[in-house]
Amino acid sequence: MVSILAVDDSASMRKMVSFTLKTAGYEVQEAEDGVEALEKAKAHTFDCIVTDVNMPNKDGITLIRDLRQLSQYKYVPMLLLTTESSVEKKQEGRAAGATGWMVKPFNPDQLLKTLLKVLD
């Protein structure tokens, strides 16, 4: 089963993303910031990371940058979910190693379609 790590400091968002992914048949673990996500990602290698950008302790872009330093995450798809739509932020995400970028608000179907694309 494809395993995904869903990272967001907002519990309602995290639960919504997690529920959507589990309903679609994915195995999901949750983390509430980049620090917790990095710990979980070291303990278990996920097939995909879905993370918010703006979080306390460690933001999503730094998380992706840190994960890309780990050999097991060199080619794992990583999606950023954010309200930021600026070109600069997107470039920052790309430079850090993000595979894709989804601007909030999005609906569950859009999330699943994007995931299918990056997991293909």
Binding site: D9, S10, A11, S12, M13, K15, M16, F19, T20, T23, A24, N54, P56, T82, T83, K104, P105, F106, P108, D109, L112
Partner: protein, 128 residues
Amino acid sequence: MSVDMTQFHAELFEECLGYLDAMKTDLESIDLNAFDAEKMATIKRGAHTIKGDCAMFEFTTVSDYAKIMEMLLGEMLEHHKETNTANINAMLESVAYVRNMITTLQDKGTLDGETAAAHSAKLQAMIS
């Protein structure tokens, strides 16, 4: 795939109220003589999260208003707008208004569009 988004509403509202409490506490503890960028960034992140989360759950009246709050807090953070008593009080009033909107939604009430538009216009006028 159809996901019943209403199952997350109770959690969303509680979360927003928590952010608003934290924003209020931080705003009230700002020392006007010693600008604390970290504290201001935390307050701004509160508005940012409310904006994003409420937009996700299609509470656009709240998210549109929180967006203006975030812009104003951003101006204070970047020193384009002075962090003075008047601006802090305006932010505290905004926090109270968002709290009012959230509790209305929590009680299954409907937000009054005209009141929201008036509040938004007042806040928008403060943007540099």
